[in-house]
Symmetry: C2
Subunit: 396 residues, 2 copies
């Protein structure tokens, strides 16, 4: 056996998280696209069947109380909270990531006050964040400026209302320095809004510890909630009374069944709710989150870094020189849980990888993206992926 294969065996044998793979329904595909759609947790199918057949089909309307449907957004928010370093009562689940970015950014601008006229947004952001930020600027009469995260400290001023940043860049996998950027935003008197889509579930976030104001994330990547599972919104406890939502739906009313013509917001995190929550998707997510029982996010982070280190090592061993270039930073403190390789014919290469049982994804125009979900990806997977990539790109 080759050296990488032997090393993978050793690493897998020493991996305390390896048994967690059994909490998912998987096959022999090497699935490195959990940063786009997480794999199916084993407990989800039966839970969803129960929600459909018994809770909806038999209890029907009674389930809003008896099956806990009404309180699901806050309850599941509290289930996500420890994974992102938040105490209970600050996260609510529901709506898409885009809609939550809209809520968070409008609320942030309102918190900052009238004399703060500029919004800063990560120039390399996932597109939807930029589109929504632009809409928020237009609706609130602010200007929008796109800067790289590195440029943020210099771009901040007394005019800055809010800054929307990504914890991990969706394309390159670069991890941004949330603690120091948040501190810089606060030093300028502005409000920090973080998008956690590519970090939550893969590494410690520390929302409370680092004083993040508002945060948004999706649940279908490293949280394995299922396709289009509802996103979540974090509002720091000390800001909740000032959270002034642009989407004041009846679900966030202090007395939702009072059917009052005047809006009066509920206290706490549920002020971020809007309309009736999508119960099937939401309760699938709740079941999915049970895979985290007893799992330490620090252990997940350690394995994630070991996996991406090892994958890069195997790529260097298997892929002919010059065929790929890693866009993912080498220093651990700058790396999320994915490896992005620039490659001349990336679209075609990914097709051939998938045909051979290695699933990553292609991001136009020239990026091969490989996501490492420590809960179900092992070192042998990383070795095989690099080996097949080497074959596809004409290596040994």
């Amino acid at each position: 056996m080759s050296e990488p294969v032997l090393k993978a065996e050793k690493l897998d044998a020493a991996d305390d998280l390896a048994p967690l793979r059994d909490r998912f329904l998987l096959d022999d595909v090497v699935y490195l696209d959990g940063n786009s759609l997480g794999a199916l947790p084993a407990g989800v199918p039966d839970r969803v069947a129960d929600v459909v057949r018994r809770q909806w089909g038999e209890l029907r309307i009674r389930s809003w109380d008896e099956s806990g449907w009404w309180t699901a957004p806050e309850r599941i928010g509290d289930r996500i909270a420890p994974l992102v370093g938040a105490a209970a009562g600050q996260i609510v689940v529901g709506d898409s990531t885009s809609v939550n970015i809209f809520k968070a950014l409008v609320a942030a601008v309102r918190m900052a006050g009238e004399d703060r006229t500029e919004i800063l947004v990560d120039a390399s952001t996932f597109p939807t964040d930029g589109y929504i930020a632009s809409s928020v600027a237009r609706l609130t009469g602010r200007t929008l400026r796109a800067v790289t995260p590195a440029e943020v400290p210099a771009a901040l001023s007394g005019r800055t209302a809010a800054v929307l940043l990504n914890h991990v860049d969706y394309r390159t996998g670069r991890l941004h320095d949330l603690p120091s950027l948040t501190a810089a935003v606060h030093a300028a008197g502005a409000v920090a809004v973080w998008d956690l889509c590519h970090s939550a579930g893969a590494l410690p976030v520390g929302l409370d510890e680092h004083g993040v104001d508002l945060a948004v994330g999706c649940t279908y990547k490293y949280l394995n909630g299922g396709p289009g599972a509802p996103a979540y919104l974090y509002v720091r406890r000390s800001l909740q009374d000032r959270f002034d939502s642009p989407l004041p739906g009846w679900n966030s009313h202090v007395e939702p069944f009072g059917m009052r013509p005047e809006y009066a917001p509920a206290p706490g995190a549920l002020r971020g709710r809007v309309g009736t929550p999508d119960i099937l998707s939401m309760l699938a997510l709740e079941a999915a989150l049970e895979v985290w029982d007893g799992v330490s996010i620090d252990a997940v982070r350690a394995k994630s870094l070991a996996l991406t280190d090892f994958f890069l090592e195997c790529v260097a061993a298997y892929v002919p020189g010059g065929r790929v270039e890693s866009l993912t930073p080498v220093p651990h403190e700058e790396r999320g849980s994915q490896v992005a390789l620039r490659c001349a014919d990336a679209g075609d290469a990914m097709k051939r990888l998938i045909e051979r049982g290695v699933v990553g994804d292609f991001r136009a125009p020239d990026v091969l993206r490989f996501g490492f979900t420590p809960l179900y990806v092992g070192f042998a997977d990383a070795e095989r992926a690099a080996r097949v990539l080497g074959e596809v790109l004409g290596g040994a």
Copy 2:
């Protein structure tokens, strides 16, 4: 047997829609709360199980293409279209009703132009519509005025930007005159936005025929899509190029996987999309809509009116005089598919009805609400509900 019982038997025997009840999973409860949460269509559990186990669990990320996840919002919109009198290509499914009202009303105000400074909203509306309208007014710098639908024609002026109306009042079951109100709104040069939550699936709407501009509806009432199933947005074809969304997420980009920093909206109905759609809830809805195969909405309307007529007749026969007062209009052209009875101790009365197997709902402070879903409610159900109500309220 009593006269109402005999009459119910005759009416059920002559009911061509009676066999449709077999398309649902039901029991011996009289379920008159389908205007809050529709019953479970028989085809949904297996479909959802397939979506979870095979589409998500086995195909995983490939399902966005191979299982048609990506195009579901438009495809399911086209499935709803004939039920509300719309040609294909004008409806997109996704997000909650509240979020869609926000999109529609901001877009309507933008269509109306800068010199149109006032939004009118139904004063008796379901609360969320009013809350969202108020937020739209605040964000777009318009004023908001609440008027009853009857007052709309007199309230319209050259200052009116948009009018948000409910087709059927959620509380009383009153059906408003969509054709003539829409015509009045248009005569004033304003944009008509209709909320169809309590009409779609219960009666013909005729969106295209009556020139409605924008419409929004939920899918978990008479469309039986399941708890919190995604809502839909109708944008009349001739207005689609002018639909300027306040929630321009990446899913409505003309080239969503181009990952471009500048937003460029897609043509057509899918301009109303925002973020990643909640696939489990959405595909449950798609399966649920199959109960409409071969069903005429005119036949549904005829049965709905016959059911509510008969229920009112039975209430008169069984309930002691003066104990309840119907808030639902007697003329057919003013009646939706529910009967609302004002009753002094409505909360307690509904509790006792539910204990005896008759499920309606209570709307504070004093309304008993009974929804009649012609696809699965029969005349014997109406008779039994009225009879039990009579018992509960101390009748014979």
